[in-house]
Subunit: 216 residues, 2 copies
Amino acid sequence: MQKIEQNNTSGRTYGGESAAERLSRQRQTFMDAGLELFGTVGYRATTVRTLCKQAGLTDRYFYKTFSDTEDLLAAVYTESLDQIQAEVVAAINTAANQQLTAGQIDAGLEAFFSAFENSRMARVCWLEVLGVSPRIDALYTHRTQQFAELLLVLGRAMQPNWSIAEEETRITGIALVGAISQSALQWLLDDYRSPRAMLVSANARLIRGLINTLPH
Amino acid sequence: MQKIEQNNTSGRTYGGESAAERLSRQRQTFMDAGLELFGTVGYRATTVRTLCKQAGLTDRYFYKTFSDTEDLLAAVYTESLDQIQAEVVAAINTAANQQLTAGQIDAGLEAFFSAFENSRMARVCWLEVLGVSPRIDALYTHRTQQFAELLLVLGRAMQPNWSIAEEETRITGIALVGAISQSALQWLLDDYRSPRAMLVSANARLIRGLINTLPH
DNA sequence: TACTTCTGATGACACTTGTCGTCAAATACT
DNA sequence: AGTATTTGACGACAAGTGTCATCAGAAGTA
């Protein structure tokens, strides 16, 4: 009986790290390797072997934390988006003090495009994540809608008499996310040729235009 | 010597078809099979074997026309977009007679979303085509920009005093394509739950808003 | 009718991938 | 020091894939 418990939850310190520390370091190492490989050679060209080589660990540790390369992809994607979303929100909140609307929009977009100057993240979030499996598709849908909602909360705060029907509002938010994403994606595929400010102003114009269609 | 020529360009009629007819029928059969499989089980799950089974032909004929499954994907994608783009342009031109701007926008969007009620096409054009290879990425970029240009030609026709700088205009067009695409994609991933008219009006509002940011 | 081309089926090959097992060396605990 | 656990390296296995060769029979042609 004790033997079984030891087998399951042994957890000895090794190399100066506790079991939990080791596990979390390995996880992070694989996450880094995943972002690197998914973001360069791409998801479909990434195998467990190349991941392990990149991480400097063996497959045993990979399977200890992740069930699949797909599992790792989901984790990398989720973490990247979490990080970016946080940066955007922070930028908007910071700008909230200085000016009401235009400044916030610009600040949010600025933060967004800044974050995606990391080409690996951009690749993972818009290229690699699509069409992998129903599970990942669902995750993508969910995150897109979540981002759209964030935009709409901001929009409604800026324009109190928001007169669009509920469902059309939802779609509008998604469309906005699409506009921003697509410009960033083409920016990436075009090797970041245009200056960032131009992306910001093109998308800011779109948003201002939308808000102006409302009665004010 | 004659033997070699015969080997290369034999071209005998068989089953009532000339060589060219056979070849083009086979090509079309594989295109149909590709749209079906890429649009349902997805590109990465589609193999030469399953394609041949679906097409009712053998691999020899596949390799006679296509070098790769990737090659077939590019062909299916290109043909789908050609078709859809033609439908959109036709709808806009038809509507041009009755009313000036708003009607054209609605008609174009209506045609666009109608075409993408074909879920296979939608899947291929926005999910399967991304992140496959640099070649396909380039093709995607090219087609997106082409679509953006089409939008801009229309926009400039509608609003003669177009006062946005050249490069920002390009980006704006791409953003618009993204808005429209993303709403359609989420529509697909959401099993076409919303009525089509709602997608049309949400995107039409965005476009009208944009045009209104120009001096008039 | 003889001959050539086309077709479909089948099998084979080399290769990659996910996944698991083994084994000796390193490390920690008692 | 002795024992148990952790680690990295290596190999092995089945499954799936792209690709090609073969071969008997069908369909034209002279």
